[in-house]
Symmetry: C2
Subunit: 273 residues, 2 copies
Amino acid sequence: MNVTTRCDGTDLRQIAEPGELRRLIRQGGYTGRTGGLAMGRVQANIAIMPADAADDFLRYCQRNPKPCPLLAVSEPGDPSLPELGAGIDVRTDIPSYSVFRDGELVEDVHDIRGLWRKNFVAFALGCSYSFEQAIIEAGLRLHHIDARMGPPRYTSSIDTVAAGPFSGKMVVTLRAFPPADAIRAIQVTSRFPMVHGAPVHMGNPRLIGIEDLDTQCDSTFIPYPEDEEIPLFWACGVTPQVAAQAARLPLFITHTPAHMLICDTMNAALAAF
Amino acid sequence: MNVTTRCDGTDLRQIAEPGELRRLIRQGGYTGRTGGLAMGRVQANIAIMPADAADDFLRYCQRNPKPCPLLAVSEPGDPSLPELGAGIDVRTDIPSYSVFRDGELVEDVHDIRGLWRKNFVAFALGCSYSFEQAIIEAGLRLHHIDARMGPPRYTSSIDTVAAGPFSGKMVVTLRAFPPADAIRAIQVTSRFPMVHGAPVHMGNPRLIGIEDLDTQCDSTFIPYPEDEEIPLFWACGVTPQVAAQAARLPLFITHTPAHMLICDTMNAALAAF
């Protein structure tokens, strides 16, 4: 069984309808990664927390739009996100949730109906899958996609702007390109500020606190296969998760990495121009 | 008398109306550089040649839009460019013209009414002054402006696409920025494809045939005053002039460098989005 195959053998990549995928996930029929599913649709990072923390978190996202681009915020206690899809229920529609207590990961679960409280607020944040689609459609090569991995990820020395208990360094991801493609990648991703937008840095990694691309990598470093490629660094959606962990909230819940909310919204609809 | 002062002592920088500046130039009242005049208005590179060569030149510009962004092309024999300004006469409204015969510069003149023929075609091409205004308004620093010079200029190893007798290497200009400003400069200039648009290269100059930034500079090299700046290279409007010289046309006429056609069109009106 590969990662996009459900228990009964259906290949989920053949299901184009995001609502159908969400129903399947809701029923427990799929608990895997969402990369490659419902191509062309937005996939969102999810953060869920009680309303008192949510007020601060909302200001944290507003102050740090590159790592924390807000696609939608629920009403307190309301698990729907109508801007992003008909009938979304954030308690059931994500294949896997990570539950943090006092800043520590305590469990991964497939359903949070039992944890949901009526003061919970859900945040949906833009994810790099959307801008990577635009990069690929522009004919550019992504080394981590070739390697069937996620992009190399680092904790940079760039401070985010604090709000209430939320603060910390910006997490960034690395994608390297030949110079002309790097210029094109900046142009293409600039069109998508709702999904991290343009890079925050390029060139020398030491200028943002990364002395060694390999050993300091928080995921898996994908070496550039070609000389003279320029590394571009984008703000990463792991940033708010790290900030929430550091805030040691009594309880917060996120999607498990790579297990995203599949939305109705088209990636192309997020283009600012 | 400084460079923007006419014979009677008027400081031309106080004249905001481009039509008034063109009339003054037409009357021989000003023969100097146009940088800093009619701020906010487009200033255009000019190339004038007989219709038979013009057909090839038009295709050359179409095939090389980054060095040769066409703002307007006159009707054969008609010295007006109504798209760019009311009453423009390209025979008189440029402060200084360079006249080339068989590819050699033979003279600089202030009026070409005596040279004009009824099969002449005038081309107006976008100039970096327009995108530099956008860079400056974005709050970024241009070292050559600080030094009161033009940008460093190089003949790159990048081939242009030939058309008829026109061909040759792309001429580029260099502007260096700290990494985040370099990303911003790419974004800002991407909005202006009609005035060279985004850079054609960044980073290692050797990849485009420039081994030494200082000794290979065709103008004056402005060293980067700060470590870790990234050099960005833009296509330059000198490219078509070099191609026209190499084509050894019996006669062609350009503006003298830095002595441009001042248009009515606002720079901001050229933004593609």
